[in-house]
């Protein structure tokens, strides 16, 4: 069951990306691409990348080297799109609030620089588990990419929590899925890159693919299922003392 080329393996590799294509079509039809153009681009790119890699993997006459070269190309494109997607999420979160937009942009830039340095350090410290640099390099690059990605998502979540910034439903769903995906993939690729599991590292592939499937379902739910209409009570203001406030403001204005 948990072997490469088992029915579950085929399902987990293909199904999330078929779902993702359907999601991309529905995003386009519902006009959500105007709000989340990068997420749409990411969904399409990810699906095309994975279908290509799947094809290269199952076709017997394709050389391993060709597969890994394609993997590298996909990885670099996917990485760039994921960073752009993180930026898109952050923009959605802070754009309505100019008071924190500037400091937020400065802080996320600083966090990004620090995370890139940490990622470079982890890549340098990783002992290659595979003698073929195409493979070990790809593993180290995946690990580094997810160090930055999970760090940025964590930063965004904590920033929003500190300032009590309200997420809209779609942004929340994309961020939640991306957060789960990047943290799980970081752990998974760190294990694969280190070679701890040896021949059993295929188990991590299954775990990665299952997590991706879950995240596509989360994105589909938050992007496509409308929010239930809940009558949120509009609170009365806190109890009162306008006279004192007026006197205080007048005193302030007269200074």
């Amino acid at each position: 069951m948990l072997q490469a080329h088992s029915p579950l393996w085929h399902y987990l590799w293909l199904a999330p990306h078929i779902l993702q294509v359907a999601l991309a079509v529905l995003i386009w039809r519902r006009g959500l691409h105007k709000l989340f153009p990068v997420f749409l681009a990411y969904s399409i790119f990810e699906a095309v990348e994975e279908f290509t890699l799947y094809g290269l993997d199952v076709v017997p006459w394709v050389k391993d080297e060709t597969f890994w070269k394609a993997f590298w190309v996909g990885l670099i494109g996917e990485g760039l799109l994921k960073f752009a997607l993180t930026g898109e999420l952050f923009r959605h979160l802070v754009q309505p609030w100019p008071a924190v937009a500037k400091i937020g942009n400065q802080l996320i830039t600083c966090a990004g620089v620090v995370l890139v340095l940490v990622a470079a350090l982890t890549a340098a410290l990783t002992v290659p588990a595979n003698p073929n640099w195409l493979i070990s390099g790809a593993h180290a690059l995946q690990q580094s990419m997810y160090v930055v990605e999970s760090g940025l998502i964590l930063f965004i979540v904590l920033f929003a929590a500190h300032f009590r910034l309200a997420w809209n439903r779609q942004t929340f769903g994309i961020a939640l899925g991306l957060g789960i995906l990047s943290c799980e993939h970081l752990a998974g690729w760190a294990i694969i890159a280190s070679g701890i599991l040896g021949d059993k590292s295929e188990l991590i592939d299954f775990f990665n693919m299952a997590t991706y499937h879950l995240c596509v379902l989360i994105w589909s739910y938050y992007l496509l299922v409308p929010q239930k209409a809940v009558d949120k009570p509009i609170l009365p203001p806190p109890d009162n003392n306008l006279g004192v406030w007026n006197r205080e403001l007048e005193r302030f204005l007269q200074r």
Partner: protein, 178 residues
């Protein structure tokens, strides 16, 4: 191998934090009626006195260097307590005004939006002010100017008052004493 273990632990912790923060936020009832009761009135005059540079100069003239450092340290602790309370009030006001953002009245929404923006600015300034106060605790004789924070707080209070008037003209708002 050690690096892999560190990264796995870091990833697990990050995932727990992300899930905890996001899920607790999504489950939060924004219209919690007890929120307003969490606002703590602040004595603006007392705070203004604490950040007054003339008051500092006066104390410096009247006290010995050692006594001045001790007094100044106490004043800084008091200032930090005020600033933290200001931050908590801003936090509560953000939550209250976010519920008002759903109002059908455009003026209430505008007032709520303005209040949230000012409260966010204040939350930001609180971070800087606290950093400055804690830095000054290491060197109590340095000058401090938290005046801009005070101005922000007063602007936010004005917005809270406006929002209160729009939502309920008969029940005004108080978020500071004096």
């Amino acid at each position: 191998m050690t690096l892999a273990i560190i990264l796995v632990i870091a990833a697990a912790l990050a995932l727990v934090v992300i899930l905890r923060v996001t899920l607790s936020r999504s489950l939060q009832i924004s219209g919690d009626a007890s929120l307003a009761g969490q606002i703590q009135p602040i004595d603006i005059e007392a705070f203004r006195n604490l950040v007054d540079p003339d008051e500092n100069a006066f104390l410096r003239r009247r006290l010995s260097a050692e006594a001045f450092r001790a007094v100044q340290r106490e004043r800084l602790y008091a200032m930090a307590a005020y600033v933290r309370t200001v931050g908590r009030n801003a936090d509560v006001l953000i939550r209250i005004s976010q519920s008002a953002l759903n109002s059908s009245d455009a003026r209430t929404v505008d007032a709520a939006r303005q209040l949230v923006d000012q409260a966010l600015l204040l939350r930001r300034n609180v971070i800087f002010a606290l950093a400055r106060i804690y830095a000054a605790l290491a060197w109590p004789t340095s000058g401090l100017a938290a005046g801009s924070l005070l101005d922000s707080y007063e602007r936010m209070s004005g917005s809270a008052m406006l929002l209160g008037r729009l939502q309920n003209p008969t029940a005004p708002v108080r978020i500071s004493a004096s």
